[in-house]
Assembly symmetry: C2
Homo-oligomer: 322 residues x 2
Amino acid sequence: MSDFDTPYLIGLDWGTSSLRAYLLGEGGRVLQTRAEPWGILHVPDGNFPRAFATLVGDWRTRWPDLPAIAAGMIGSAQGWQEVPYVECPADAARLVSGLQRIASGDGRFLYLVPGVLDGSPLPNVLRGEETQLFGALQLLPELAAEALLVLPGTHSKWVTVTDSAIRHFATYMTGELFAVLRDHSILGRPAREQDSRASPAAFVRGLDVAREKPVAGSLFSTRSLVLTRRLAVEESLDYLSGLLIGEELRCALDTLGNACPPLVLIGDGVLCQRYREALLHFGVDNVRILEQAGSAGLWRIASDAGLLATTPSVSPRSANYA
Amino acid sequence: MSDFDTPYLIGLDWGTSSLRAYLLGEGGRVLQTRAEPWGILHVPDGNFPRAFATLVGDWRTRWPDLPAIAAGMIGSAQGWQEVPYVECPADAARLVSGLQRIASGDGRFLYLVPGVLDGSPLPNVLRGEETQLFGALQLLPELAAEALLVLPGTHSKWVTVTDSAIRHFATYMTGELFAVLRDHSILGRPAREQDSRASPAAFVRGLDVAREKPVAGSLFSTRSLVLTRRLAVEESLDYLSGLLIGEELRCALDTLGNACPPLVLIGDGVLCQRYREALLHFGVDNVRILEQAGSAGLWRIASDAGLLATTPSVSPRSANYA
């Protein structure tokens, strides 16, 4: 391992369904990545210290001075230790002020990043996304003045950033709605009984319907169009996806008025691409995609917290290894 | 059995989850009712003739000339025999023209009532409800000129009637959405783990949120309000119910403009009462409830079809029995 590869930080993205670890070098460069399906609800025996030691114990031994930081549901009531939310407007300094240091079971510490609360009358919470958001601001500094950062997924988050702070955000349960309707409702039944076929046209057809008005009155068309042979069963899930993503976009864009700030999609590339196409269909262009912002966010927060050694944290043994 | 009790018609309401039979006398009066949980997907061995014979075979033997008519999913592709939909505008004469006579396996016939298709660009279908609708028009003739008939439930139907015909209708999957979200989504999880408590106030709170704008952006508040301790877990399902019923009402009432025609709720009394309260909250009063319209509808359609004997259909044996 050359000087160029000197590690400065162990970062963990520890969510509901998976655990991912990064060994980060100068400037947050990813030196190594490891992952296990040990989301907080699937940690063997619910033993967080052991899972932590199993995944990164050798890094801890080799570089005993390296700080470790974790973001995500690991800081929820169901996680290792609950970390109180910090409130909007949340800039990096506020996140840092909410960091919680816990004993990691190996004689050292682990820092947990707090989630963020939007305390509007209908409150909103996020945990894990805040780190991706600050990663995005790190990677694309021009967004700090004003941006709309969208993390599509099970619970899509639409986050308004101004002056380097999270001002406000909304949650759309689009991914979960799609999954429960596909797996458990009458809308998904025909498609569950035979193979689906990707149909961009059916997706756009659903978007078109949702662009006009709320889909509460048109959801059932996923079934009635099939019954009347105006939509192929194999295409019905893409139509449903268009309805639901379209509902999300119509509602979210309605709250903006006429001006849409620079919009960046963060997350899985295929899903982000789908949202970019949908946004284009709704008249929003120049949308950028950022597939990976988590490690940059962990780096940014650790850096702002002063956790990073000013001189490289090279363990005696790493020299042997290099 | 006195003359007053002379039967004229066997009527069946044969839906997805249950089978109900009526022995109907003069003017459609219900003389006897029987029911089995033999919805079309739950008929023993899928043997429709045998289920029919088991439920009403003794009536058929005793009054061999009595006509029999059935409405509901029994006429769908998954039923005894598929009966093509008739199209809107659908008056009683059009329903009658679409009646299908099938051999009932006991040497006689059974008439199946067709469903109705609203062939709008986003088509809509109903099967079974058309019979309740004509039952309502039979029981409340003043509705025939213009009315909005609402059948709340798994798939709520909002049906516009003018000049004694079904002009148009819309479907809201409110009941099914509630069930899948309660049973399979994160919104229902906390409540699934402990007892619920009926909370009219939480229901109204959900209605208030839904009245303002589409709930796509507020569904998640069912969880975030609980997380931030602003809503009790035990009340969260009533809040969710308010959001979903409120979404249905806002959307359905939006399509009416300023004038709401006479509105009648048809169906289960408790659910109809819930909808009436919600409608009042949305500024619609004078809403009537009709709990039972199915047998009246079967009578009306059989009567218009000329199936009813002009002289009482008294079997030889009924005299002995009387």
